[in-house]
């Protein structure tokens, strides 16, 4: 980071002064300007504030990638693990101390690619972990390769002829794996993220948050802000989030409807 010491100190001071940003750490995010992750960061910070969760009772576990850096930017306990393994590590944290509020965060490569084998199992075990999957359909930290949620035909330096593999639908996967709380959200709507997170954190059991976001640096064609804003819209008003079959239909029929897709009734 090239920010000069003085500017940085001033920023830190401002952050310390502001009640609103209390949850932020003095390490400022290293994400690119315009990155969708700022919106998610704001959404989660506000949810933690709204619930009044003590910071020392929070552990944020992450994998590798741009989203993997998340713990450093939060004034909580953090565990930045290796690529794809945030879910099993968070399982250990939660079982060891159920008093803690545990978050797992990671990108689509981390959670659907290398770590794709863990989502089914934390879902069926229904461990009380809140998992935020930042889905921008690209590997950003390695500078732009197709991810498991990239569309067919997606052109990158690693797929000059266009990606040939079919994309995964993270919401549909979580529902079919038996996740007991599934929400689909948009990084451009931090307040929507906060509302869903507040419900998901209160939910006793595994909560999955599928967050559509944009990589402004390496994706100029697919999940751009322009496209995402055009595509996303709320779930139908008559959507019954307690009905798994309806939730699965919704996830299949409309990949961009936002809100709490499913919540298992106790």
């Amino acid at each position: 980071m090239k920010t000069s010491g003085k500017v940085l100190a001033a920023q830190v001071e401002r952050i310390r002064d502001s009640k609103r940003f209390e949850i932020r750490s003095e390490n400022l995010p290293t994400w690119c300007p315009g990155c969708g992750y700022f919106g998610i960061h704001q959404g989660l910070n506000n949810a933690i504030q709204r619930l009044g969760l003590p910071h020392h009772q929070i552990v944020i576990v992450s994998g590798i990638g741009c989203a993997g850096r998340y713990p450093f930017f939060s004034h909580t306990y953090g565990l930045h693990t290796v690529h794809g393994r945030a879910l099993p590590v968070s399982t250990g944290v939660k079982l060891a101390n159920p008093e803690l509020t545990v978050f797992a965060v990671g990108g689509d490569g981390d959670g659907l690619g290398i770590g794709g084998g863990h989502l089914p199992h934390i879902s069926r075990r229904n461990v009380d972990v809140n998992y935020l999957l930042f889905d921008n359909s690209i590997y950003g930290l390695t500078k732009g390769q197709p991810s498991p949620s990239s569309p067919v035909g997606f052109k990158t330096k690693a797929s000059p002829q266009g990606s040939v593999d079919a994309p995964l639908n993270a919401t549909l996967l979580a529902l079919s794996y038996g996740a007991s709380f599934v929400a689909r959200l948009f990084a451009g709507d931090p307040d929507g993220i906060t509302d869903a997170l507040v419900q998901g954190i209160r939910h006793k059991g595994f909560s999955f948050f599928h967050l559509y976001t944009s990589c402004v640096t390496f994706d100029k064609a697919f999940k751009t802000w322009e496209h995402l804003k055009e595509w996303v819209h709320p779930l139908p008003e008559n959507h019954d989030s307690s009905n798994l079959k309806q939730a699965i239909h919704e996830a299949m029929d409309d990949p961009f409807s936002l809100g709490i897709v499913y919540k298992r009734m106790e």
């Binding site: 750490s25 390490n27 003590p54 910071h55 020392h56 009772q57 929070i58 552990v59 944020i60 576990v61 850096r69 713990p71 450093f72 004034h75 909580t76 306990y77 953090g78 565990l79 930045h80 693990t81 290796v82 393994r85 879910l87 099993p88 590590v89 968070s90 399982t91 250990g92 944290v93 939660k94 079982l95 060891a96 101390n97 008093e99 803690l100 084998g117 863990h118 089914p120 199992h121 075990r125």
Partner: protein, 627 residues
């Protein structure tokens, strides 16, 4: 001269014959009769139909450290398979076999036609007797044991107790069938076997025949009704020795290496176990699944070994003791996260029960070929603690110890066992853990550090106080990236140099808490010094003790701390030896690679990759050739 019992009994059959079950019953009965037992099964990975099963039980009046190369009694449940055991028979060995085997057995397959003429043959119609007594031939393994008990004079009551314990849960009918099958064999042997046929096993005490039975009151007590009613009595070993012996023996239990690992973990206050099935570590998970919930703990069968070690790290991070157990292939999957434990300075306990490799290798055979993987496996300069028990008692001690080591040094600790160690049973004393051995060794930050806490502060010992989530005022993030003292990612040359040095200094410092090498010699200079680790050490020690008895200038050095290791002590031992011999169950000599440089000249390597435990005779012969 002290009376000596040192008898090796093998049972051989196809998988499905009940070979392993019979071996288990035999071991337990011999243990109850007051004898020491060291036993090991060799079996195929498949459940039924694909292979030979052999149980190998060495029983004696003293603790034993290795299997014997010679078999004194062979119980054949499948003569074709048992032919493979003939080369291992001692002179005048006793062979029990089915004199009327099922009709599908090929002609000429009877073991009677193949053994050396000196063998003592005891043909018994196992199948016929079992069927007549219980209505099914399934109990023929027990019928064979009945014959053994009669000939060697073990009270049938001793066997009855063991059979009842084993089959009680399976219902009255199954238990009854097994008891009747046993009795049928016992009765047949008592009635039919002639006194002249009693095998010339070494007399237990001077005087001969009447002292022959291993347990008094067994064979002598004809007729049948009386047999087995007497208390087990062991012939006096030396003047006044008997009572002490029995008393001492009673404190000991027959236990496998795996079960000893479980006891060690339970006594350490294990809270969580995460694992994935793999031979030969699975019994650890199964046993904990039974025992841990009663103590408020939990066993979670994870989706793979990566998830298992991940959850173990997460649990220790959050302040609870956790463990996983695996074998080579699973260990390979764990290596990345193990190095994360090294980098983020998070404790973990990993049992690696080695089997034959590489890749899937030989799942049910023993080998010591994961030493390099355990010490060096994974990316980067990732120093961690590796300890390796050499016998069942040490499986307990080292597992117990590993939790404290992991906490004090904030590092993954790998307990390296091997198939032979995990699966063999030994009669040993498991003392239970004192408060001191259970104590938490975490170093927490001082209250005064609140608000200015640095998780990775550079200290003289390299150990930095570790806060546990939930503690107010000590927030930090742990990471697998190189980081500053505060835990913030940093790739500068200065930080990486300092932090790498800190982590290595910390692990080097662990040496003072690690078990030191133990020497067996009369001191002074030696012609040959044998250095060994893991289950091979027992064989090495037997060989060295035999050599010493014959006046050879030889010594043995047991090494259980493999990383870090006690270089000075090892070097001092080497200096006093003309030749250093390192026997290992791997191809190249992985311990020799690790410590060979400490010797002034090349160490002599003795390597075997047969999938079987190291033979003491082989080591003995090699020692002899070096003198």
């Amino acid at each position: 001269m002290m009376a000596q019992v040192d008898l090796t009994v093998e049972i051989c059959g196809m998988s499905g014959d009940g070979t392993i079950a019979a071996g288990g019953i035999l071991n337990e009965a011999m243990s109850r009769a007051g004898l020491f037992v060291l036993a090991f099964d060799s079996y195929p990975a498949e459940i039924r139909g694909f292979g030979r099963c052999v149980t190998h039980s060495r029983v004696g009046d003293r603790e034993m450290r290795a299997l014997s190369d010679r078999t004194h009694v062979l119980i054949s449940l499948d003569d074709k398979e048992s032919q493979s055991r003939i080369p291992f028979l001692a002179r005048e060995a006793v062979v029990f076999f089915d004199s009327k085997p099922p009709s599908y057995v090929e002609e000429g397959a009877s073991i009677a036609a193949h053994v050396e003429p000196d063998a003592r043959l005891f043909g018994m119609p196992f199948s016929e007797l079992a069927a007549a007594a219980s209505g099914s031939t399934r109990g023929r393994n027990l019928t064979a044991l009945g014959g053994f008990a009669a000939v060697f004079g073990i009270p049938s009551r001793t066997f009855h107790e063991v059979i009842e314990k084993k089959f009680k849960a399976k219902g009255e009918k199954v238990l009854d069938a097994n008891l009747k099958s046993f009795d049928a064999g016992h009765r047949f042997a008592l009635e039919r076997l002639k006194v002249e046929q009693i095998p010339p096993i070494p007399p237990l005490v001077k005087g001969g025949r009447e002292d022959l039975p291993l347990v008094k009151g067994g064979r002598e007590d004809l007729p049948l009704e009386k047999a087995g009613m007497g208390e087990p009595v062991y012939p006096p070993l030396e003047k006044g020795g008997r009572e002490d012996f029995l008393e001492e023996a009673e404190e000991k239990i027959l236990i496998s290496g795996n079960e000893a690992v479980v006891r060690g973990a339970l006594d350490a206050g294990l809270a969580l176990y995460f694992g994935y099935p793999i031979t030969p570590a699975t019994p650890i998970m199964e046993s904990l699944a039974k025992a841990l919930p009663d103590r408020g703990g939990r066993v979670v069968q994870m989706e793979d070994e990566i998830a298992s070690i991940g959850a173990v790290l997460g649990s220790f991070f959050a302040g609870k003791r956790a463990m996983t157990a695996t074998s080579g292939p699973g260990f390979a999957l764990m290596t990345e996260l193990i190095t994360h434990g090294v980098m983020s300075e998070t404790p973990a306990v990993i049992i690696n029960a080695q089997r034959g490799g590489p890749a899937t290798g030989l799942p049910s055979k023993t080998e010591q070929s994961d030493l390099h993987a355990a010490v060096f496996g994974g990316p980067g300069d990732s120093a961690r603690i590796v300890i390796a028990p050499t016998d069942v008692r040490e499986c307990y001690d080292f597992t117990l110890m590993s939790f404290q080591l992991a906490e004090r040094y904030q590092t993954p600790v790998i307990v390296l066992t091997d198939f032979f160690l995990n699966n063999r049973v030994e009669k040993v004393e498991i003392p239970g853990a004192s408060e001191a051995r259970r104590a938490n060794w975490n170093l927490y930050p001082e209250e005064s550090a609140k608000g200015r806490y640095e998780r990775y502060s550079i200290t003289e010992s390299g150990i930095s106080p570790r806060a546990i989530p939930g503690a107010e005022g000590f927030l930090f993030s742990a990471t697998g990236l190189e980081h500053t003292e505060k835990g913030r990612p940093d790739y500068s040359s200065d930080i990486h140099s300092k932090m790498t040095e800190k982590r290595h200094r910390k692990i080097r410092g662990a040496l003072k808490d690690l078990p030191e090498p133990v020497e067996w010699s009369s001191g002074g200079t030696m012609d040959v010094g044998v250095i060994a680790w893991g289950s091979t050490f027992g064989s090495a020690l037997e060989a060295v003790l035999s050599g010493q008895k014959e006046g050879m200038q030889v010594g043995a050095l047991k090494i259980t701390s493999l990383f870090p290791y006690h270089a000075e002590a090892i070097r001092a031992f080497m200096k006093r030896c003309k030749e250093i011999l390192i026997p290992e169950l791997n191809y190249e000599g992985q311990l020799a690679n690790l410590i060979g440089h400490l010797h002034a000249k090349d160490v002599v390597r003795l390597n075997r990759t047969t999938g079987m435990p190291m033979s003491p005779t082989l080591i003995y012969e090699r020692i002899k050739s070096l003198i």
